[in-house]
Homo-oligomer: 264 residues x 2
């Protein structure tokens, strides 16, 4: 079926999900929207996050998408239900991330790191509990991780101090799995692994989310033919040049990015 998969995020972070989709489904076409004019979402109110998410979805629906992927954890946490009122399948990153954490844990002790919004929503905690009722979950808001990543402070001594402070309660609880509940956090994977030690597995939702997308395409019989070559379009609400530079780091290729405003 020759329509695009729509993906949105508050910024560039959702490209971690796109990267996985490109690898797994090279024949699928993707249209991506990064709401860079209103980034970040992580500290804003549920009402505002829902409004922005609906506006972003409308922009993508106008482009005749066949499926919507909410690649932002905070938007997935608050807006998935309202977005499901649209007439296409919708996938977020919470359920895939939770599934992966539950698969990986051996001792049933899982930590979730996320923005304040994502953690306060309780969605990860609820979903993990549903999948593994006996689980012990520690959910930690790490609001400084996004700005540190944006500033490329991936391995800075200040980042290490902040990581140590955020992770201190987790270390006491002997968790064996740390779920990165924000698309920015994989950039801090090395420092998080060093601080948590070799007995702890760090997981993120990008690959599981791509698996779920594949399953839903199949279930709904809306897969692209295997002889298609995917076309990929990228839109942002502010500063396409900055997005281009950041995406080069992430995807290793220069994207063609256009400016477009979300629809209210």
């Amino acid at each position: 079926m020759n329509r695009h998969i729509g993906v949105f995020d508050s910024g560039v972070g959702g490209l971690t999900v796109v990267k996985q989709l490109l690898e797994s489904y090279p024949h699928e076409s993707i249209v991506y929207f990064g709401d860079t004019a209103r980034i970040p979402y992580g500290d804003k109110s549920p009402e505002t996050i829902i409004r922005y998410s609906i506006e972003n979805a409308k922009l993508l629906l106008k482009k005749n998408i066949k499926m919507l992927v909410v690649a932002c954890n905070t938007a997935s946490a608050y807006a998935l239900k309202p977005l499901k009122s649209f007439d296409i399948p919708v996938v977020g990153v919470i359920e895939p991330g939770a599934k992966k954490a539950v698969e990986v844990t051996r001792n049933g002790r899982i930590a979730v790191l996320g923005t304040r919004g994502t953690i306060q929503s309780g969605e990860y905690q609820k979903t993990i509990h549903r999948l593994l009722p006996s689980v012990m979950i520690q959910a930690i808001a790490c609001p400084l991780f996004v700005p540190l990543v944006e500033e490329h402070f991936f391995n800075h001594p200040a980042t290490r101090l902040i990581v140590q402070e955020y992770l201190a309660p987790i270390k006491k609880e002997k968790v064996d799995t740390v779920l990165l509940g924000c698309t920015h956090y994989p950039f801090l994977r090395a420092i998080l692994e060093e601080e948590m030690g070799p007995h702890v597995t760090i997981v993120d939702s990008a690959s599981t989310c791509a698996d779920e997308v594949g399953m839903i395409l199949k279930q709904n019989q809306i897969e692209a033919s295997k002889d298609c070559i995917g076309s990929h379009q990228y839109f942002v609400s502010d500063d396409p040049e900055k997005f281009k530079r950041l995406s080069l780091n992430l995807l290793g290729q220069t994207l063609s990015v256009s400016l477009e405003m979300p629809l209210s």
Copy 2:
């Protein structure tokens, strides 16, 4: 004259200017707008900052203000000219901040700290040069200061490391005056003073901005009568409760804050 002074900022930071206005002109009425649904402005493009600033100004103009104060440094840097097309006096924080730095310096070596947007605009540098052509200016973007302040990391070891890193080039240049070109930065004054040492004066634009407001009110003969008691209204585009909590820290009083959307 019984109309309000309008003040806007991307968030809560502009209350440092309001605080000064309240102290200096208790009979003036003020209406404040914090664009908390789209904060921060510091990393966004000039076009987006101008668009947001005009929308914020329109919201305040609908409330029949007699004068507009742009209490956000990034908005002052980019949007002051377009805002001056409106039919009321407009004051930003760049010119007052620059004036104060020039008054205070003894050796003509000034550092300016600001968001990436403010520093890249070059407005502080241009204005200070105009006032004191022989000056040596070092302008440093400090993009992590706003999130550190938002997280109340005022005196954290990680903040100190980041301050040391940002200030290192200044220390070499023997500046005697550091201008805080962002309304969030006064929260880091103590740590900045410690790091710069006793021979360096830290200045911000809040008090000079209030002086300029007073002068313009007088020049335009639009001062409130001395027998008025100022009325003060506060609006934000997201999460009035969070704004209330933050403003309590800043102003020492609980404000009545309402939700309102900027006009496009």
